[in-house]
Symmetry: C2
Subunit: 206 residues, 2 copies
């Protein structure tokens, strides 16, 4: 693309360094900012810098936080017995959006992946063990991606935790709710037949 201005070119390059934003989209964003008052751009820039400078990692669960300890760890209404282990912050948001979980979290920061050079020491596993040593946690829910790396990670973590009195579960795997069987992938459908569960009529509360 042919930019008549170096300033515009730099701004387009900045935007297009973000994931999923190409040169054309970047130009559209830049021209959008150009069409608004300079204050809008300054506020935008300031918000990003303030966010990046002041955001902290919760020292308990490694969630992102405005303070030393995050809102979820601080929330006295949540159960202390259950701990949900996730890969990333985004997984916490996804689980929180379901409204189905009222326990605590622990962010591993990834999964064990020899190909990408990520070993157990790169993950927040030691701090997880420390939390469990506290003795208050009775159940660990491994909400980790159902991939080979995810399964490796679950296996490794469960090995590390076997000396403690905690039950370990993984989130259920199978066909999606509302999905049609014929569109489910072979592996999921096959595994969901092998790991079938006894029928329980949830509509009948008697």
């Amino acid at each position: 693309m042919n930019f008549s201005s170096k300033l515009i070119e730099d701004a387009v390059d900045s935007f297009s360094s973000l994931p999923g934003i190409g040169k054309k989209t970047a130009l559209r964003l830049v021209l959008h900012l150009m069409g608004q008052s300079p204050q809008i751009t300054e506020q935008f820039a300031e918000t990003l810098v303030r966010m990046r400078r002041n955001i902290k990692e919760c020292r308990q669960c490694h969630n992102i936080s405005d303070a030393q300890v995050c809102n979820i760890c601080n929330d006295t209404h949540r159960q202390d017995k259950v701990l949900c282990v996730v890969e990333s912050i985004r997984d916490i948001m996804a689980i929180e959006d379901t409204g189905q979980y009222k326990g605590r979290y622990h962010v591993l920061g990834g999964v064990i992946s020899p190909i990408e050079g990520i070993g157990p020491s790169d993950l927040n596993i030691n701090s997880l063990i420390e939390r469990i040593k506290g003795g208050e946690i009775k159940e660990i829910i491994m909400a980790i991606s159902p991939t080979i790396e995810g399964d490796t990670t679950i296996f490794y973590v469960s090995k590390q935790l076997q000396e403690f009195e905690v039950s370990i579960s993984t989130i259920a795997r199978g066909v999606s709710f509302g999905g049609e069987l014929e569109y489910a992938d072979e592996l999921t459908l096959g595994r969901s037949i092998v790991t079938r569960v006894p029928y329980k009529n949830t509509q009948d509360n008697s």
Copy 2:
């Protein structure tokens, strides 16, 4: 979406105020910045602010520019006789990318649109007339969108210019190169039959 941090929420809101960026994409961008060093975010913010503060409108053609007069107006290798009138800066970039035009430009800043409340006085028409009064410009190419508003604008501008000795043309309209006739829209195809042009064998240079 459930954000555990007000800082993150503000940053997501900032990103999602940009056109075509929703909350989920905004969150992905914010978490991308979070995963990089604070310097990256600060540079990004600084580039945007510098761009917005220092960019100027070329006082001759209303293109965006780093200086008082833009690169295109300053370029001594371009023809002064031909002036291409466009709606926006983006159109200049699109035409420059074709490499087919070596004259000057004039940015109107939009088209006449009573529905959106844009009248002739909101466009850079007076400065266009001033440039033509200079006497150097012999041809005006109206590279305006082939819409009702665009045609209205072309009509209005041509009326304003009729006292001057300039020839006015519009860019050619018709079926796209490489397109298949059956997929061309009815209006374009119909108009391209009505406005058919005498055949000239461009491959034969004799």
